[in-house]
């Protein structure tokens, strides 16, 4: 193993300072950051070298984390000078950042019982068998030591997850909408609860939900535990009237009364029930997709169409503006909320949105609360949580991992296939007063669209490989039906030439395949990894 060499983080231009809502480094704008790195000459190469394993696997924590740390340090250094803390000496043979890289982010060689100092992330509790693409640091950040699920909690959570008795009429379980066999989705437009009632939103997958900064399409729940409780109580989902009712019902089932006693040492509580469900969900990390092998240096893991798709993803397709997949954004999601014009398909969205903004600006809290439960206002998305104008019609950027098996798409399940999704983005979304400015026409050709869809298919975990093929074939079969397709809008008034740089040029794969560029991939295989 080779010790990475570091250049002072200050070598990176101050322009690379990313935007964050709360003073933090915003993962979502790694697009900008990565491109800045790209422009930074000498510093670039150093960091590229450091970023050998952006999507690292378990067992290689140090090697993979060091570049990540360096990358973040490079950004952070724009704010403040590196602190003076000296890194702990590394064990023999392991790569350790030199002093110029600043403090270590973590000290993995710390004993299990030893507590990490504030600001450092302990990796002692991280499972040793994480799949490719799920880094130990990501796990450690998402699952603090006290939340590591015990096998007993997981087993109980698994049972509860599949138990229809959690619903008012014993007809719906969590798995009804999040079916483990089909990628934890139901393939329905919107969720169907008890008495065949339809919700307003599409059931998202549980896979990798544990890494989400927030839960639900509008991010109204902060934790898996908080999320787990709400569908049980939602009158049109599982329909239990109150948490007391849930507790009473579960307590009456002898096997659960015993299990809860065993696992939690007490009678059933709603909190414990949520803890068990969350424990199960914390085992649903998913990686090891063809893409992960490609990014680890296996050139053959992706075919040509998928490689072209990855280049388009990071270029002309602008996908990485929000769905960046790289060392600092390992989930293909910026974890933010954007109005991409889905709601504008339906009803009179602009009028609705402006009505809602007026209500919020009037400061009438009662009216605001009433808004939130009226179904027609569901389309306002994140706005109902934050009451911020900027969030009108905004929904969470979902992860793209396993996207090939989670059709239909968007918060309302309004798009049947990935081709529909690409058609939507290709024309720059649907105009509305709160449309995100990142939504611009893309001028993608039909071949480009095919390549991008192929690339998305490469994000399906090996565990679902067969199902993924089946789903991709099914969507391919619907390719003739393209309700969102509008090539005039996608190409603009001047054809596919774009106007004044609106549309990025086609990637010239003959000259140099951007997909093999170290920024996105691992390292230059042809050049022996130099």
């Amino acid at each position: 193993m080779r010790t990475p060499r570091w250049r002072s983080p200050r070598a990176v231009s101050a322009e690379s300072r990313p935007r964050g809502d709360a003073g933090g480094v915003a993962i979502g704008n790694a697009y900008c950051a990565i491109h800045t790195i790209d422009w930074c000459g000498a510093a670039t190469r150093v960091i590229l070298r450091a970023m050998k394993n952006p999507f690292c696997a378990g067992g290689r924590a140090r090697l993979a984390l060091a570049p990540l740390a360096a990358c973040l340090l490079a950004f952070a250094a724009c704010e403040e000078a590196p602190p003076a803390r000296t890194p702990k000496p590394a064990s023999a043979g392991a790569a350790a950042p030199s002093a110029s890289a600043g403090a270590t982010l973590f000290t993995p060689e710390r004993g299990a019982g030893e507590k990490a100092p504030e600001g450092e992330v302990s990796l002692a509790h991280v499972p040793k068998d994480l799949p490719l693409g799920v880094s130990p640091l990501l796990y450690a950040m998402a699952v603090p030591p006290q939340s590591v699920p015990s096998p007993a909690q997981i087993a109980l959570g698994d049972k509860l997850f599949n138990d229809k008795r959690l619903s008012a009429d014993d007809s719906v379980s969590c798995a009804t909408c999040h079916d483990p066999k089909t990628g934890f989705t139901d393939h329905k437009t919107t969720a169907e609860g008890i008495k065949k009632q339809r919700g307003q939103r599409n059931s998202p997958t549980v896979l990798n939900a544990m890494f989400g900064a927030t839960q639900f399409w509008d991010g109204r729940a902060a934790t898996l535990e908080a999320q787990a409780k709400l569908p049980i109580l939602n009158p049109i989902e599982m329909g239990m009237r109150s948490d007391a009712d849930v507790v009473a019902k579960v307590q009456k089932i002898p096997e659960y009364a015993a299990s809860f006693k065993q696992v939690f040492g007490r009678d059933v509580t709603f909190d414990d029930l949520a803890v068990a469900l969350a424990a199960f969900e914390r085992t649903q990390y998913s990686g090891t997709a063809p893409f992960d092998r490609f990014i680890q240096g296996d050139e053959k893991a992706l075919n040509d169409a998928e490689k072209r798709g990855w280049a388009l993803f990071n270029g002309k397709g602008r996908c990485n503006t929000c769905h960046a997949g790289n060392a600092v954004s390992p989930l293909f999601s910026d974890q933010k909320f954007h109005n991409i014009g889905i709601a504008a398909h339906k009803q009179d969205f602009p009028a609705l949105a402006r009505e809602a903004v007026a209500v919020v600006n009037s400061g009438n809290q009662k009216q605001v609360d009433e808004l939130a439960i009226e179904s027609k206002f569901s389309e306002l998305g994140r706005f109902l949580v934050t009451k911020q104008t900027n969030d009108v019609g905004a929904f969470k950027t979902p992860t793209l991992r396993n996207v090939g098996i989670t059709a239909p798409y968007m918060h309302d399940g309004s798009m049947d296939t990935l081709w529909d999704v690409m058609d939507h983005y290709n024309k720059g979304g649907v105009a509305n007063p709160f449309l995100d400015g990142g939504m611009q026409r893309l001028g993608l050709s039909e071949n480009d669209v095919d390549d991008l869809v192929a690339f998305m298919g490469s994000l399906t975990s090996d565990k679902f490989a067969a199902y993924g093929k089946q789903e991709m074939a099914r969507m391919q079969g619907q390719k003739g039906k393209r309700p969102q397709r509008d090539m005039v809008a996608a190409n603009g008034p001047n054809g596919s030439k774009g106007d004044l740089g609106d549309i990025a040029p086609d990637p010239d794969l003959k000259v140099k395949n951007p997909a093999s560029n170290g920024v996105f991939g691992t390292y230059d295989v042809a050049n022996g990894g130099k």
Binding site: R17, P18, R19, G20, D21, A22, G23, G24, V25, A26, I27, N29, A69, L72, F75, A76, P83, L105, E118, G119, E120, L137, L138, M141, A142, F211, A213, T214, G219, R220, A221, A222, T223, A226, L230, L233, N234, D243, A244, V328, P330, D334, Q335, K336, R354, A358, V360, N361, V385, K387, Q388, T389, A431, P433, D436, G437, G438, P493, D499, L500
Partner: protein, 372 residues
């Protein structure tokens, strides 16, 4: 306990979590937040009520109280060449048409066209016809220097005029005159236009209202009582901000002297494409947003009262752009509060009381976004 209480409880837990995080040093927090794949982004959750109500303190009895909107610096090209800016002005028109209540009028802040071409100006005029409220036009240098205003005047009339509205005297100035730098250099009209449209060139002269314009202003104001609230529209800022970009009016001091006898003066200007606030003597200055692009702040000369907007996202067509409105008599009788309707961001209100108190009162919230 119902649904709400559970969420509330978890919000509290979350708040506790972030309280704990805040004990971590800022630097470490930046790292933590970064790695945790956007926990920082979600931090907004604990602080959902930071939206600013546009509540307006009651102004004095009998003092004028109304609002007008603006669209500014649209820089239209021929649609075949670039329709992105066309989409932007259309978005602004939608915005002002959706205002409830409707503004008394809509000010167009200048630079309708990019290079003063006839088709650019006509396209703009056509689009502005769809504004529901009456439109008041101001000229910018991009509209003027191809034909020295011939087409613009044909479409919109004289560039310098005044009017009275609900007890306020409004003056629209032509502040972007330049001394003749082109004749001696034998420039074509197009070369002249392109020179003026550029930044950082020493060829063109500085903007000025000019001796004639100042004379006209003196005469116009001679008959107006000093107690009458006065609002002046000028395309360039009527002070000296940054010379090399013509964020500058050469005879600003003279013009300010003419305005000095009035008790309440508001100057509203375009050209700078950014959140910009200033206060000199008796005059409050508000810059307008552009629909086309945001300018960065100039390296020197930024007025200290300006609450800066952060550097916009270069991958977002709308970020840093927008339109806005002014509430006359909102926080201070006779002065105007500026509401910046920033697209893709939350609106920012810069109150007259903030400027009039020299920054002591009603400080606008600084952006929570860090710059790119």
């Amino acid at each position: 306990m119902g649904i709400k209480s559970i969420e509330t409880k978890h919000m509290e837990e979350r708040e506790a979590f972030f309280r704990k995080l805040s004990r971590v040093s800022r630097r470490d927090f930046v790292k933590l937040a970064g790695i945790s794949a956007g926990i920082a982004a979600s931090k907004g959750i604990v602080n959902p009520h930071s939206f600013q109500l546009v509540d307006v303190a009651s102004a004095d009895e009998g003092k004028p109280r109304f609002s007008f909107a603006y669209i500014s610096d649209t820089h239209l090209y021929n649609r075949k060449l670039n329709d992105r800016f066309v989409r932007s002005i259309l978005k602004a028109v939608d915005d002002v048409n959706a205002l409830t209540p409707q503004p008394d009028f809509v000010l167009f802040g200048g630079d309708l066209a990019q290079l003063g071409a006839k088709d650019e100006l006509e396209l703009g005029a056509q689009i502005l016809k769809s504004v529901k409220a009456p439109v008041r036009m101001m000229v910018g240098e991009h509209d003027w220097f191809l034909d020295m205003g011939d087409v613009w005047k044909g479409l919109f009339g004289a560039p310098q005029y005044s009017f009275d509205h609900k007890g306020v005297h409004f003056v629209t100035l032509m502040s972007v005159n330049e001394k003749d730098f082109w004749t001696a250099r034998k420039m074509t009209p197009q070369q002249r236009m392109n020179t003026v449209a550029g930044l950082d060139n020493g060829t063109q002269s500085r903007f000025e209202v000019g001796p004639q314009g100042r004379e006209w202003l003196k005469n116009d104001l001679a008959k107006i009582d000093a107690k009458t609230p006065l609002v002046v529209f000028s395309h360039s800022p009527l002070y000296k901000y940054y010379r090399d970009w013509n964020f500058w009016t050469e005879d600003a001091d003279e013009v300010q002297a003419i305005l000095s006898k009035f008790e309440s003066v508001t100057v509203i200007h375009g050209h700078t494409h950014q959140l910009l606030s200033n206060h000199i003597g008796n005059i409050a200055f508000h810059g307008m947003l552009s629909t086309a692009w945001p300018w960065p702040y100039a390296p020197t000369g930024l007025p200290k009262l300006t609450v800066q907007m952060n550097r916009p996202d270069p991958f977002d067509n709308f970020d840093g752009c927008g339109d806005g409105r002014f509430e006359v008599g909102g926080s201070v009788a006779g002065l105007a509060d500026s509401i910046y309707n920033l697209w893709d961001r939350n609106p920012v209100t810069v109150r007259a009381s903030y400027l009039a108190s020299n920054g002591a009162k009603d400080v606008p919230p600084a952006t929570k976004l860090t710059s790119y």
